[in-house]
């Protein structure tokens, strides 16, 4: 994101514009729509009110006009000469025609006035007329004293009674031609149109578009008009219609819409400009920040500083960033130093472990050979010495392993693989290992049946096993001769499994309870002969804690101790194992001679002492012959040539390493299935992991334990048979 890039090209700008502009325009449109529709409703209401008012005005004026004509007719009907002429039948012919000829009504010069007797017979008239009114429908009404106002295509007719002594004796008819009627009925008022209808038929209209004379007043008003209709109160049948063209009525709305469009356009443009300028002020510091962050990420350019400018928040951010990078710079150098120190320690431990193991390998190996040599029987003293050598070596080895372990745990350079684990199964494995030791001490280990069916716990299987082994071995080691160890279990609080190992040893004095889990503390009491590194329980406690468990104990001096661990239960259920009680008497013979008959084992090893040790060991396994190579290159050739049943491979070889050699072997499909195990003094977990990754089925750490080799053989050769026989 270069700083020279135009702001509207930036993704942020685009996204803000895309979010804000359409939304703002939509809101504007909505507001506009609501506003115009509201205005339209208001205008329509207002227009209707105006029309209603107008119709009232027109009605009043119209009624006034009609009243005027009716009043004029009544005034004329009340004229004495006219009344008298009804009676003066002899001489009225001399003056009535003259009177009528001269008659001009003030309202309308064009009107025709007709004077009839009580039966509608014409007595006098201003203009010629066909027939008389004897059968006129209005006659009856007029003769009972009513006045009649009629409208039609011909025009308007007003008939009033002529009274004498309050009795109707004649009628006066005033006919207004349609043109005069139209002038009276229709008034041009502003932008409105009006029309008058009689019995639903339009008589007159100020605008032919509005209503057509002669048409129906209900359908006449077209959709383009706002219409208001009103029945006239004083003149039945007469209906007034007032209309306004919608275009005219809503002109204000149209203007408003136009104005809204302009406002909308201006708003949208100013919005875009505003957003862009704001974004510009935001994105340039943001771009600088981004560039700096990317610089830190990709090039670890911690020295880069951001120019402090822009809005306050950005200034704070920039200075915070600068502060952060300088701190990071400092902490990074500290970390590097610490890492280097740690690395040095690891390397030291690794090499120490390797350097110590190599001589130990010889000590323990040959000690074992010496002890087990059946051909050259040792004297009792010699045997005792060899045994002491072995015990010392073994103790040293344990110490090295546990120190390594502890350092690993303390450095945190240690990973757990938590999984559901069956405590019964793990306990079984532990008993297999502890069994011989217990047997040699004459100690009975009793496992309560509940342990075998205990529910699964969530733990690292290896570490859990290590914990149990430690507790069991302690229980055996610190027991009295022919004592007992009891393993029991129960479900504890909070989804924990409580596992207790009870011994019948001397117990732990109360004043040292607090030191039990501290490193290098041993409470052997008078049992000074018990071997121990002094850090077993320390490691155990740490392991239990990293597995989210707890550990503790209670002890009675002279009676024994009970160590317990609590491990979280897994959600998975455990299958019920067969109830079993393991005792040292039930130890199995692990190797069968027929399993190993005619087998060839290749050992690639540069260290003659180690080679010698394995040679001696293999000699003791009937039917197995050992071939060897002192470097990897020869080893590979020998594998191709002899196709051994098992390859034992040292890792640290001159030239090609053991791992490289195995890789080479595995390239040949014919040799790919040959089982291979690593034997190395590199005991660091990293090394073991590397080896296992390379394809070794097992990784034996020097000093070589004969039991381990035997177990390896048993596993390889048995499984090989199983595979062949199946």
């Amino acid at each position: 994101m270069g700083e020279t890039r135009p702001v509207f090209r930036s993704a942020t700008a685009r996204s803000i514009l895309l979010r804000m502009v359409p939304a703002s325009l939509a809101v504007l449109l909505l507001v506009g729509y609501l506003l115009t529709s509201f205005a339209r409703t208001e205008l329509e209401q207002e227009a209707r009110q105006r029309l209603s008012l107008l119709s009232l005005q027109i009605e009043i004026s119209l009624e006034h006009e009609i009243d005027f004509i009716v009043n004029a007719a009544n005034a004329m009907a009340g004229n004495e000469i006219l009344i008298d002429s009804l009676i003066d039948s002899q001489s009225r012919t001399t003056y009535l025609p003259i009177f009528f000829a001269s008659l001009r009504l003030p309202v309308a010069g064009e009107s025709r006035v007709v004077f009839t007797d009580y039966k509608g017979r014409i007595l006098a008239k201003t203009d010629p007329i066909d027939g008389d009114f004897q059968d006129a429908p209005w006659l009856r009404s007029v003769m009972i004293g009513e006045q009649v106002v009629q409208f039609g295509a011909h025009g308007m007719r007003v008939v009033v009674p002529v009274l004498y002594n309050d009795l109707v004796e004649g009628t006066l008819v005033i006919d207004l031609p349609s043109i005069t009627m139209r002038n009276i009925l229709v008034q041009e008022i502003g932008e409105t149109a009006n029309a008058v209808s009689y019995d639903g038929v339009v008589l007159a209209s100020s605008d032919a578009d509005f209503m057509t004379p002669g048409g129906d007043d209900r359908v006449a008003a077209s959709a383009g008009w706002l219409l208001f209709q009103k029945n006239m109160t004083d003149y039945a049948g007469l209906r007034l219609a007032v209309g306004q063209k919608k275009v005219a009525a809503f002109a204000a709305v149209d203007k408003m819409i136009n104005a809204l469009f302009v406002v909308g356009g201006v708003l949208a443009i100013s919005l875009i400009i505003g957003i862009l300028t704001t974004l510009n002020s935001l994105t340039s510091p943001l771009s600088r920040l981004t560039a700096a962050v990317q610089g830190v990420r990709s090039a670890e350019d911690m020295k880069r500083k951001i120019k402090i400018s822009g809005p306050e928040e950005f200034q704070i951010l920039a200075s915070a960033f600068n502060d952060m990078t300088s701190r990071l710079l400092r902490s990074a150098s500290k970390r590097k130093y610490a890492e280097a120190a740690n690395e040095a320690k690891s390397e030291f431990l690794s090499s120490m472990s390797h350097e110590l193991r190599t001589p130990l390998n010889a000590i323990l190996g040959f000690g074992q050979i010496l002890e087990m040599d059946d051909e050259n029987r040792l004297s009792k003293d010699q045997k005792e010495s060899a045994h002491m050598i072995l015990r010392g070596g073994q103790h040293l080895l344990d110490l090295i392993n546990e120190v390594l372990d502890l350092s690993k745990i303390e450095s945190g350079n240690f990973s757990l693989s938590m999984e559901p684990v069956q405590p019964g199964e793990v306990l079984g494995e532990c008993l297999t290992l502890i069994g011989p030791m217990a047997k040699s001490e004459g100690i009975t280990i009793t496992v309560e049946p509940a342990v075998l069916s205990a529910p699964m716990v969530m733990a690292d299987r290896t570490r859990f096993k290590q914990v149990l082994l430690n507790l069991l071995s302690n229980a055996v080691k610190y027991n009295r001769p022919h004592g007992a160890v009891t393993v029991s279990t129960e479900i504890g609080d909070g989804g924990m499994l409580l596992l207790s190992v009870k011994d019948t040893g001397v117990g732990i004095a109360e004043d040292v309870h607090d030191d039990v889990f501290n490193a290098f503390t041993r409470f052997s009491g008078n049992q000074t002969d018990v071997e121990g590194t002094g850090i077993g329980l320390t490691i155990t406690k740490k392991l239990v804690e990293v597995m989210k468990g707890r550990i503790g104990f209670f002890s009675t001096v002279g009676e024994g101790s009970t160590f317990w661990v609590e491990i979280p239960l897994s959600v998975e259920k455990s299958p019920i194992l067969e109830s079993a009680s393991f005792t040292r008497n039930e130890e199995r013979e692990m190797l069968m001679s027929e399993d190993t008959a005619g087998r060839t084992v290749l050992y690639v090893e540069d260290n003659p002492a180690n080679l010698k040790l394995i040679e001696m060991l293999v000699k003791r396994v009937p039917g197995v012959s050992l071939i060897s190579a002192h470097n990897a290159e020869i080893g590979v050739v020998m594998v191709e040539e002899h196709k051994p049943d098992l390859i034992l491979m040292d890792i640290n070889l001159p030239g090609m390493s053991g791992i490289e050699a195995l890789k080479k072997i595995r390239e040949n499909p014919e040799l790919a299935d040959i089982p291979a195990a690593a034997i190395s003094a590199n005991a660091m977990p990293r090394d073991i992991e590397k080896g296992m990754d390379a394809g070794f089925m097992d990784y034996l750490v020097k000093p070589i334990q004969l039991d381990q080799v035997r177990a390896l053989f048993a596993r390889v050769f048995q499984s090989g048979d199983d595979a062949a026989s199946s």
Partner: protein
């Protein structure tokens, strides 16, 4: 008063039904009642005169029917109201003319209506008996044979009588206030002639219209022309206005009014009310039941009258009595003529009316009533002047 009209119709109908029941079958056609039409104002401004005429006619018919009717047939009155309107009157005549058994039509107070009906009457040969309308041309109508017979004032005589009366009261200059109709014009001629003959000055004539609402202007004009008395020819409605307008003038400016009798045909006294005493008003009359010319005849008439009309019991109760008296005499004269003619043929009865020799009537003794050249039975000698008493009753004026 018009309320009693349906009652009289019922009486007539009852009589008719009675005759049907009494007569043998073969004589039934001959025994149809003889119809006497009454064509007068029964409901408008002069309704009182119409009712008076109806009552007088009815009393006479009752007497005739009681004595066996005419030529063995009963008389029956059929009433038509013209309200003083000639158009209605003409229509009434047309209607009556179509009636098979019509013998004669009794007219009303209105000269203009009678005038308008003349052609129809003569075209249909209908005997027209006039008990009130005084217009000279009603009788002097130029028709030959003349079917109009009158027992009433003749304007020609009335003019002379009233001018004389004015002169006798010392009025030398007379202003005329006449209704603008044929009647008014009939009087204009009569007054002009009489004044000329009697050496009385007529200061001028002011015409008043039917339906007039104020006559002050006319009265003032008459005064301005120097009239000492106002001669009034009008009907009750306009008469009331004239008298009230006169009364409204300051007392020293009021003129005496000598009126033709048209004003007595309606509820004049009620209309004028208290103003009546403010104006010196004399009015033409023929006879009065207060002072009847033939008391015995009047007594027998009144006895029957009171019997037939329960709202009356003394002479003062008989309103517009002249109409009743004239109609009564006319009806009996017609009866005599039928008897003399021995026929119901109207032409022959008309001829017989001219030939009736003698009749002792209510108004006077007719000896003879009519002649071929004279169809007016009364003369100036039968006239008198009367005044309205405090109770609105006309009383004969002391000379």
């Amino acid at each position: 008063m018009s309320k009693t009209a349906p009652l009289s119709l019922l009486v007539g109908l009852a009589l008719m039904v009675g005759f049907f029941l009494l007569s043998p079958n073969e004589a039934r056609a001959d025994n149809h009642p003889i119809l006497i039409g009454l064509d007068a104002d029964m409901s408008s401004g002069s309704a009182l005169s119409g009712e008076a005429i109806r009552r007088g006619t009815a009393v006479a018919i009752a007497e005739i029917n009681e004595s066996g009717g005419l030529l063995g047939r009963p008389l029956m009155l059929t009433v038509r109201d013209h309200r003083g309107n000639p158009s209605r009157g003409k229509d009434n005549i047309i209607e009556l003319a179509e009636m098979k058994n019509l013998l004669a039509v009794m007219g009303g107070i209105h000269t203009p209506v009678a005038m308008a009906e003349l052609d129809l009457l003569h075209d249909n040969k209908i005997i027209y008996l006039s008990p009130w309308a005084a217009g000279t041309p009603v009788v002097d109508n130029g028709k030959n044979p003349n079917y109009v017979f009158r027992v009433s004032v003749r304007d020609q005589f009335a003019g002379r009588f009233l001018v004389k009366g004015a002169a006798a009261r010392g009025y030398k200059k007379l202003g005329l206030l006449f209704e603008r109709t044929g009647w008014g014009r009939s009087n204009e001629k009569a007054f002009a002639k009489a004044a000329d003959e009697l050496g009385i000055k007529l200061t001028g004539v002011q015409w008043l219209n039917w339906g007039a609402k104020d006559l002050t202007a006319q009265i003032k004009m008459l005064k301005a022309d120097g009239a000492e008395a106002v001669m009034l020819v009008a009907n009750p409605r306009e008469g009331v206005i004239a008298v009230k307008n006169m009364a409204s003038l300051p007392a020293d400016q009021r003129l005496p009014i000598i009126s033709h009798w048209g004003i007595t045909g309606g509820r004049f006294a009620e209309g004028v009310g208290e103003d009546l005493q403010k104006v010196n008003l004399s009015v033409l009359q023929t006879m009065s039941f207060m002072n009847p010319p033939r008391p015995d005849k009047a007594a027998s008439f009144l006895a029957r009258y009171y019997k037939m009309y329960k709202d009356t019991s003394k002479p003062e109760d008989i309103r517009a009595g002249v109409g009743a008296a004239h109609a009564y005499d006319l009806m009996h004269l017609l009866g005599l003529a039928v008897k003399q003619a021995g026929s119901l043929d109207r032409a022959r009865v008309r001829d017989a009316l001219e030939a009736v020799k003698h009749y002792k009537g209510l108004v006077r003794v007719y000896n003879p009533p009519f002649s071929p050249s004279r169809h007016d039975a009364l003369s100036e000698a039968d006239f008198s002047l009367a005044r309205y008493g405090a109770n609105g009753i006309l009383v004969p004026a002391s000379r």
